[in-house]
């Protein structure tokens, strides 16, 4: 008897988190972004190394690659790379702090998440407009 009751109650409940209508908490979004920015920076790394190779090769080849990276599509890619780098940097420091076992509380995680986003924006602005 109790068995059938359990089955009915389980059947009435939602079976999955229903990702389409589930508003992800800030930290879930940041976690996914950490992975995306990390993987995406492999493209940035290849571009930066290409630029160094050009500077090591000849003046003409350097002019070509430097021109490509400072053209408007190049600017967009590198600006996004800077944004991705500083986000991965800030969020990575959160991960290193968590690895020591501290700042794990629900409120603390949200606070440091917001802080990481703000510091990312500040560092990106400094890199793009000041340096």
């Amino acid at each position: 008897m109790s068995d059938t009751k359990t089955v009915t109650r389980a059947g009435a409940r939602p079976l999955s988190p229903h990702l389409q209508v589930y508003r992800m908490p800030l930290n879930a979004v940041l976690s996914i972004l950490h992975r995306i920015t990390g993987a995406a920076m492999s493209v940035s790394a290849a571009l930066v190394v290409w630029w160094f190779l050009a500077a090591a090769t000849s003046e003409g080849y350097f002019a070509l690659v430097n021109g490509l990276l400072t053209s408007w599509p190049g600017d967009i890619v590198l600006s996004l790379s800077v944004l991705g780098l500083w986000f991965h940097f800030c969020n990575g420091i959160r991960h290193l702090v968590w690895d020591t076992g501290s700042h794990f509380g629900r409120k603390r995680v949200r606070q440091t998440g917001i802080l990481a986003v703000l510091v990312t924006l500040v560092l990106t602005a400094i890199t793009l407009f000041v340096i």
Binding site: G38, S42, V48, F52, A55, A56, F62, L96, I131
Partner: protein
């Protein structure tokens, strides 16, 4: 059902290989190194990008800038291998996963080697 094997035989070959935390630990170490290197590298690179050929070569013939750039490129590639390996292990299974892991290591290794060669050539010839 009666289990004929001994407890010891049942677990033999299973379980910890005593190196399970190695990858995790090495990724943290490369992360710490990058946290120190990244600000200095971004600073020199932001200055150099868009400058003329002679200025760029002058910037990266400075020992400090060259050492930071070399360290950043090498450790970033190491960290990239560690991170991409985790992503591939998560999403690509079986034989395809092995192929991806090998291809990824070769590609990132090529980027690291090229970067190291280029930075050293600029540092020593400018």
């Amino acid at each position: 059902m009666h289990e004929h094997r001994t407890e010891r035989a049942r677990v033999s070959g299973l379980g910890s290989a005593r190196s399970g935390t190695g990858h995790f630990w090495e990724q943290r170490i490369s992360a710490i190194a990058l946290a120190f290197l990244a600000p200095f590298f971004v600073y020199s690179f932001a200055h150099a990008l868009g400058s003329d050929y002679a200025t760029v070569r002058a910037i990266y013939s400075q020992p400090f800038n060259a050492i930071v750039a070399l360290g950043f490129v090498l450790v970033a590639c190491l960290h990239l291998v560690q991170g991409l390996a985790v992503i591939i292990e998560d999403y690509v299974h079986g034989r395809a996963g092995i192929v991806w892991l090998i291809a990824m290591r070769l590609l990132v290794g090529f980027v690291a080697l090229t970067g190291a060669f280029a930075i050293l050539k600029i540092a020593f010839s400018a």
